[in-house]
Every structure is written in structure tokens, then in C-alpha cells.
Symmetry: none
Subunit: 367 residues, 2 copies
DNA sequence: AAGCCCGCTGAATCGTAGC
DNA sequence: CGCTACGATTCAGCGGGCT
């Protein structure tokens, strides 16, 4: 599947732009069958009532924006049907759609997209390492969100799924339907005057995995609920094209600035692995996904005699070889095997820090 | 919540029996509002058109080469609506319903149960430690199933959730919405002539957690798609009553034998961990009355920033307010409310001991 | 400099018994 | 039924400030 190159792009398609307006109208103005993948993070229809306080009496800043309010399930279903149908039209026949949601809306969205003919390939569970607790002890901690990944129709068998790349990212084990990724916080979280710029900003690591798994470099990715542009930022870094649609001009401008600051990875590092690889014992790809080791990072051995660069799927490229951190290390050493975690280092403030250090960091966040 | 004892059981309710027949008809023959919890593992083969009924009770005649997806989904939705409505009728007002499914059916079931008024409390992800791989490498490994847990209606606030028990089960951390449990295999898997007796037998560990979390000993648990009786076996072990409904007499007999072999745990071991909510109420005045906290005692918060003195009637007096331990604490904090038992402390040998400590002493003497 | 402590925050459908 | 008072309840991670 990953061997095909992208089809020629229709001239009318605005690439790497943010279109302001209602996503249904904007999508209907785009040429049919023109985008490779759609990632959608629609309103969840949370229906929050009243306020919630933490045990220490501080107030939880819930989602109470107008765009998340619907009068009834029927109204929400009508909205879902409308934007999903518009999305289906602009999608190429071999394109795929991702939608993310919570139990408030995802069952309705899933049923609606089945109703209009989308064909579910997987439901993916985003398991949060650091969810908000249930402060009143009335329910289980709501520690995940759900993504639905689907093809345009049951007849569409030729969608893009970079199987080898996802496997390489995951210890050469098949990537599972449950993904462990922290929520977006700290530096990555966009702020305005010290408070969160957008109530529902998604982590870049989530989009990284989505894009590496289901698109190829040069593909066109549409996000009809663009918000602060996480999809666009990750697409640019991974050398995919994006089309963002956002109703709120404040968010649109914020996204624009954010994306402009993104440095695209070099072309060779975003190429997806196409062949089988021998197994690294720990998924180095996760470090890349989380941004601990960005694509393009130069790795060296302890004494800086050997060099290699990191690709988006967690493989390395050196002078005359591409492969896992272990394979490339072994090749350069002329040794039968090599522990890449100990062999490869990242330059940090004049020191060569072994990869294993970063692995431990990641493990610490995953408990 | 766990303080309540089970309501008296209607005489007509068949307990710890397997009822053979169509679950909708059998449920409709049971008294309304009579069961505490329902666990359902409905069929999800969307091509079982011949066995499905439309909402208007007409049978769906499928079985053709040009069967149409929309008819199939509609038929499945009608079937879901029928059994869910029957389940809603037999459920007590403060009862809860669990449904398990995969991406093939869970979105439709979830939307349907919302449509008829069930109120979702959590969606739970059963994360399988040992899922079947995706052999063709066309998708992510489908490594989970989804459970939806809901109350009978949005108005029903008094469902059973053994918060303290679930927390105790999980290293004293809140139980999350993602559960890691192996699939049912090995000895636990029922076999007939060496091959599996039922295609979708669920692990007992899954039912164990469901029952411990959402039922009390003596509760009545109904399973409308009983299969080989995992729900019944675990219910018997945990001293809950069950009602199983199963269409297939072969499965029903298998379940019967299986359950008969189960030894119920002793009563003391199935008691759920008591949460503070369930403990008998002790007014602060009783502590004063008994001399544990003499009138005139000076109370402070943990950091000694606030002070108040105890009066003989169990009220506190601070600089500018008099009232209950909660009222005075809230006033001093400028908070809308305050748990005085945790807020106020007594100086004892240089340590600030919370009032709750003295309450526990008194409770111990009261049995 | 490193480490500890404290405060803040995140897509949240988060009371109830008793009068 | 409405009102009032009681009183139960949090995890991981980041960042700032202090030692």
C-alpha cells in the first residue's frame, strides 16, 4: 500500500492553508475526492451542568463553550451527519477518516458514520497516562478517549496503512489498538496570558502516530475542526500537506503562527519504513513520537566516531544503511550485534547522553 | 450507597436459575423494577438478519446476495432497542446496566441506549494482554473490547458504585476506565470434545471486577445473553443472585453444570470495603458529650493559621462567627463548603490530630 | 547546581439524608 | 416535594521558588 505515490493534486486545492468558516460549507466548496486523510476532533456535546470542585475547593475549568452546546441528541446527530457527508465527498476513494471523541458523543458519531457508509477499520483507545481524577468518587476515572478509523466505504480496500512503520515504532510487535500517550500539558500547551488558549488541545504525539500510520509524505490531510492547529503542526513537521478549517479567527491566527514556527524534518527522515526489520527490544519509535528525540536528530556513539539520523518512524539512517538503532549500530561497528540503547547518544549541553536515558524518562511517565 | 440493603425480592422472581428462551419475551415476563444490575453480552453479527426483529415486531427476512447495509444496521438497531427497553423495565430505578461489545456493534448499542434514556456513567476499555494478532497486517491489532456502564436514567443518582472497594483493588489509586485483563483461555475455557464450547466466553476476572464494583452481596444480577454462564458462576462465587436467560439449550445445560460446581466464597470475604459514606453518622456534639473533645478545646487547621474554640453544644466559636465545624471552617476559608472533620485539628503532643481521628475512636466503641 | 516543596491544572455528563 | 445542613472527595506532571 505504501508504495503508491500520491495522485496529482487538483489545482483548486488550497494547500497548507487555514480556511476560516463553517467546515461543512468550506468542505463542500473543495473538489470532490481530493484529500488523502481527514482527522476530525468535533465538539463532544459534553452537556456539563453546574460547577465541579476539586477536594481542595478549587474550581475545575470545564468546557462550556458555545460550540459544544447542542439542544438534543437529534440535533447533534444531524450535525454529525452533515459534516461526515461533506467529509466523505472530499475524501479520495482510498482515503481514510479519523474521528476522536469520548463516551458523550463517540457512540453517536460511530453509528452515524456507519450509517452513511464509512467502513470502520479500527477503534483506537487513547489511554492517558495523566487523566483528571474523578473528584467525587462516583465513577471510574475517565482515563481514555476513543478514535474511530475508517475507510470511505466497505468497497474501498486500498487505504494507506504503513504496517511496517507502525510495527517498527513498537518493538517490532504489531501496533495495538490501545495507545498510551500523555495529555497535552507543559510547554506544548498553548497559552494566552498564562491560561490555556484552547480547552481541548490534543497532544502532538497522538497526531504523530496517526499521520505516520495512515499517510505518506506529500499526502493531503484535512482537519475540519482545526482549533489551534495540532494537525497542521505535525503534518508540516512530517512533510504532509494540510488543509485546516476553523470557524474562530482567534484560533486560526494562533494556529497560523504556531505552524509557521515548525521546522519540517528532512525528507529522508520522514520516509516510512517499507520492509521488515529485526526487532529492537524496546520501541524507540515512541521516543520519536513523544518528541523526546525529534526526527532528524543526529545520534553519535560515545566518542563521536559514528553518526546517524533519526527518522519519523523510529528507524535510523547512516551513511550506507537504514534500520533499527541496534542494526545500524552493529553495522557501523562491524559487530554481529549491538545494543542501540547504550551505543547511541544525543549531544546535550556538550555531553553525550545515551538513548537509554531518554527511554527511562519515557518509562517513568508510563509507570 | 452500600448502606442500603437489597429491597425485598418479589416472590415471582426466579433466583439463581437459567431461563431458556428469547430474552426479550422472558424479561417482559419478569416483574418490573426487580433486578439490581444487568450484564449483557449481546450478539454482534450484523448479518444475523433472519434472527432479528424490527422495532415493530416484524421479522426481518434477510438472506440474499443483495442485502443492504442500511437494512442490516436498522434491523440490528431494532433488536438492540427491543432488548434494551425490556432490560430497562426489569431494572430497579437505582440499578445499572453493563453492555460489552466491539467496534462492530458497540457504537450502535451505545447510541441506542442513550436514545431510550439510559445515562452513561463510564465507557470501560477491556485491554487484552493476549489478543489475536492481525494476520494480514492491514490494521492495528484489535486488542480491546468496550463496555458501557450506565444508570437507568439521568435522574437516577443513587446507583451502586463501591468506590472504596475498587480503589482498594487498585493499590489505593482510583480505578481507571481501562482494565488490563487476559482473554479467557486455558483451564477456564470450557471445551466440548477438545474445541471451545462457546465462541465468545468472557474471562471470569472481567465479571469479578464488574460485580465487585457495581453490586452488593445478595443483589440480583440478570444476564440476558447467558451463554456458558460466566456471569452466573462469578455471581455465585461472590454471593450475588443471578438470573440467566439463554436461547440455546446446549449452552444452558453447560452453564448449569458449570455453576453447580462453583463453591461460594464465605460471607465475610465477599463483603465490600466500606467507604466513609457508609459509616454511621456521628455528630460532632457527641464527641464533646463523651469528653473526647472537652468544651473550651482550641481547634486549629493543619498549619495553625485558623483558630476556634469548642462550645458545650458542639458548635465552634471563632473571631467573627459561630456555627458547626463545617460552617466555621467554610467561613474562615472563604470557601462554599468545608469538611470540618478533616479541616479542624487538636494539638496533641506537638502534633495536629484531625477531628476525624476522634470520630473513628468513637465509632469503634459504638460497633 | 540539585533537590525538595508547594501550587496549579487537565474534554467532567462527579450528593444526599433528613426534615 | 423543596429546603437545608452535613460532609465526602484527587492523580500525574509541570513549573516556580526556596533551601
Amino acid at each position: 500500500m505504501a508504495k503508491r505515490t500520491s495522485a496529482p493534486i487538483a489545482p483548486a486545492l488550497p494547500l497548507d492553508e487555514i480556511l476560516e468558516g463553517d467546515c461543512i460549507e468550506v468542505m463542500n466548496a473543495l473538489p470532490a475526492g481530493s484529500v488523502d486523510m481527514i482527522f476530525a476532533d468535533p465538539p463532544y456535546n459534553l452537556q456539563l451542568q453546574g460547577e465541579l470542585r476539586r477536594p481542595n475547593e478549587s474550581r475545575v475549568d470545564g468546557v462550556d463553550d458555545d460550540w459544544d452546546r447542542f439542544d438534543s441528541f437529534a440535533a447533534y446527530d444531524g450535525f454529525s451527519r452533515d459534516w461526515l457527508q461533506a467529509a466523505q465527498r472530499v475524501l479520495k476513494d482510498d482515503g481514510t477518516l479519523w474521528v476522536i471523541g469520548s463516551y458523550h458523543n463517540i457512540f453517536r458519531v460511530g453509528a452515524t458514520l456507519q450509517d452513511i457508509g464509512f467502513w470502520i477499520l479500527n477503534d483506537i483507545v487513547w489511554r492517558k497516562t495523566n487523566p483528571m481524577p474523578n473528584f467525587r468518587g462516583k465513577r471510574f476515572t475517565n482515563a481514555h478517549e476513543t478514535l474511530v478509523w475508517c475507510a470511505k466505504s466497505a468497497a474501498a480496500k486500498r487505504y494507506t496503512f504503513n504496517y511496517a512503520a507502525t510495527k517498527a515504532m513498537n518493538d517490532d510487535l504489531q501496533m495495538r489498538s490501545d495507545w498510551v500517550i500523555p495529555i497535552c500539558s507543559g510547554r506544548e500547551r498553548l497559552k494566552i496570558d498564562g491560561s490555556k488558549a484552547h480547552p481541548t488541545q490534543k497532544p502532538e504525539a497522538l497526531l504523530h502516530r496517526v499521520l505516520v500510520a495512515s499517510t505518506r509524505p506529500g499526502d493531503v490531510v484535512l482537519d475540519p475542526f482545526f482549533g489551534t492547529g495540532t494537525t497542521g503542526a505535525v503534518a508540516r513537521r512530517l512533510r504532509r500537506h494540510f488543509i485546516g478549517i476553523e470557524q474562530d479567527p482567534v484560533y486560526a491566527r494562533l494556529a497560523q503562527r504556531r505552524i509557521e514556527a515548525v521546522e519540517p524534518a528532512t525528507e529522508d527522515t520522514v520516509a516510512t519504513t517499507e520492509s521488515r526489520r529485526d526487532a529492537p527490544r524496546v520501541p524507540f519509535g515512541w521516543l520519536v513520537e513523544r518528541g523526546l528525540i525529534p526526527p532528524g536528530t543526529v545520534l553519535t556513539d560515545q566518542r563521536r566516531r559514528h553518526h546517524a539520523r533519526v527518522r519519523a518512524d523510529g528507524t535510523l539512517v547512516a551513511a550506507d544503511i537504514t534500520g533499527s538503532i541496534h542494526q545500524v549500530g552493529a553495522h557501523l561497528l562491524g559487530a554481529p550485534s549491538c545494543n542501540g540503547w547504550a551505543f547511541w547518544h544525543v549531544e546535550e549541553r556538550g555531553k553525550a547522553v545515551p538513548l537509554d536515558h531518554f527511554r527511562q524518562q519515557l518509562r517513568a511517565t508510563m509507570n
